[in-house]
């Protein structure tokens, strides 16, 4: 399955790149991440308690970062399995600077199998989008804070509020640039 998307982050590109490749930050920002440990240069092992609504599962797997070209690009390869099924795939992440904000675009190919693919196929794309928007909302909050400052707190309500305020901000910005 192809997955792709773009997210606009109100933060400097260099800083966004730093937080996106910082395991301590990722552990805080990946929805349901219970552990993330370094197993080598740019490779990590993770445990996620991921899911939406009633449907939840625990996944363990590995993440590798390759082709690191700060602050513009990296490639990520993921493989994981858990009780509800397995997934493996890889994708390219690109960071662009535009009008003082950072546009992160990702595109990749993911294979999903097991129970979740057999019975949950129709929900996978929606679930991926939902988790990606939670993740990037948290990443944006992290990237606004400099490396030597106290990192922000995350939680369901904080993430929901940030998501809402971001949406409003984009709405008003859209109205100004498109006065119809």
């Amino acid at each position: 399955m192809k997955i792709e998307g773009t997210h606009e982050l109100y933060a400097r590109r260099q800083r966004v790149y730093e937080v996106l490749t910082d395991p301590a930050v990722l552990k805080r920002c990946i929805p349901g991440c219970e552990s993330l440990e370094k197993t080598g240069e740019n490779s990590y092992r993770a445990t996620l308690k991921a899911g939406v609504g009633t449907i939840k599962g625990i996944f363990t797997g590995s993440v590798e970062l390759e082709d690191l070209r700060p602050p513009a690009h990296y490639r990520m390869t993921v493989s994981g399995k858990g009780q509800p099924g397995f997934l493996k795939g890889s994708g390219d992440i690109d960071l662009d600077e535009r009008d003082g904000l950072t546009v992160v675009s990702y595109t990749g190919d993911v294979q999903i199998g097991g129970t979740i693919a057999n019975v949950g196929q129709r929900m996978i794309q929606g679930a991926v989008k939902m988790m990606a928007s939670q993740f990037f909302t948290a990443i944006e909050a992290e990237a606004k804070v400099e490396a030597d400052e106290t990192p922000p707190k995350h939680g369901f309500f904080r993430t929901a509020l940030r998501w809402l305020s971001g949406k409003l901000r984009r709405m008003f910005r859209g109205k100004r640039s498109n006065p119809s």
């Binding site: 009633t54 939840k56 196929q121 129709r122 929900m123 794309q125 929606g126 939902m130």
Partner: protein, 285 residues
């Protein structure tokens, strides 16, 4: 196909169910009709530690008229709504929608409250409930609150219900004036879920023009939504072919459609506009 271990309790009152839920929060699930939850548990996609069965609580299953409202208890089954003679007269969209859900077994056991609280992105009820401008009555430890249908569905399988709240009643303003309704869907052939489902409620003025339109779509994206652009394109207009066709072309404006093996995002958008046109035509008859 055997669920993980879980505990099971059968409260006798709604207050007792709410207090059990408040104690256990995310570890517990409310069991209504069980036709989404039990399959998910059997596949171990859901593993709640406690099931709170609200099926024996009296007075959660009813269809009644009070003042200018139709009130439906959360544990009312799809079949009870489908077969209610009075509803067929005063709000035909409800029985029409119920009749298109799943199969006979699902309609006999599945409940309107269970379906709404589960918030499957392809469920039928969410579209009907939004188009009918319904309100959800939700009970918690402190009493009750009312949530508008437009605010109830937050995202895929996620509603505005807090972890300690139970949906108890659906309130629908009784349709008045010269109105027309319809619910049309493209069912997934295996599951019966809506690939696309469209609910339309129209009122017409003395000249036959559209006074107001309420249109909601399910199945296309992560949650059912109100098709505001379609509503705006119908309001105040004569319901001729050109108007309906133009309005229906806005069915997925601003919506991020999802695709799956069965229907790509583009195909879903196309189906949404075709079925919106047909649903408006059916409601305008």
């Amino acid at each position: 196909m055997i669920p993980a271990q879980f505990d099971y309790v059968v409260p006798a009152t709604l207050a007792e169910a709410v207090s059990l839920l408040s104690q256990h929060q995310d570890e517990a699930k409310i069991l209504a009709g069980g036709h989404s939850l039990i399959p998910a548990m059997k596949l171990r996609l859901a593993q709640p530690q406690l099931l709170i069965d609200i099926g024996r609580i009296k007075d959660l299953s009813y269809i009644r008229e009070e003042g200018s409202e139709i009130r439906i208890g959360a544990m009312t089954t799809h079949y009870q709504i489908e077969s209610n003679a009075r509803l067929k007269q005063i709000c035909p969209m409800l029985p029409a929608c119920a009749a298109q859900i799943g199969d006979v077994q699902v309609r006999n056991r599945g409940t309107i409250g269970g379906s709404l609280a589960h918030a499957d992105p392809a469920a039928d009820w969410p579209a009907a409930i939004i188009a009918l401008n319904a309100e959800m009555v939700v009970v918690n430890g402190k009493g009750q609150r009312v949530i508008k249908a437009d605010d109830f569905f937050v995202d895929m399988l996620t509603t505005a219900l807090d972890a300690n709240e139970i949906l108890s009643e659906i309130r629908i303003p009784a349709p008045a004036g010269n109105f027309g309704q319809s619910y049309l869907k493209v069912p997934q052939p295996a599951s019966g879920f809506a690939v696309v489902g469209v609910a339309v409620h129209l009122t017409r003025d003395a000249a036959g023009a559209c006074e107001a339109a309420s249109v909601a779509v399910t199945g296309v994206t992560s949650k059912a939504y109100r098709a505001s652009a379609v509503e705006a394109a119908l309001k105040g207009k004569a319901l001729d072919d050109a108007t309906i066709r133009d309005a229906a072309s806005h069915a997925t404006d601003g919506v991020d459609a999802n695709g799956d093996i069965y229907a790509s995002a583009d195909y879903r958008r196309h189906l949404a506009s075709v079925y919106t046109r047909r649903a408006i035509e059916a409601a305008a008859k």
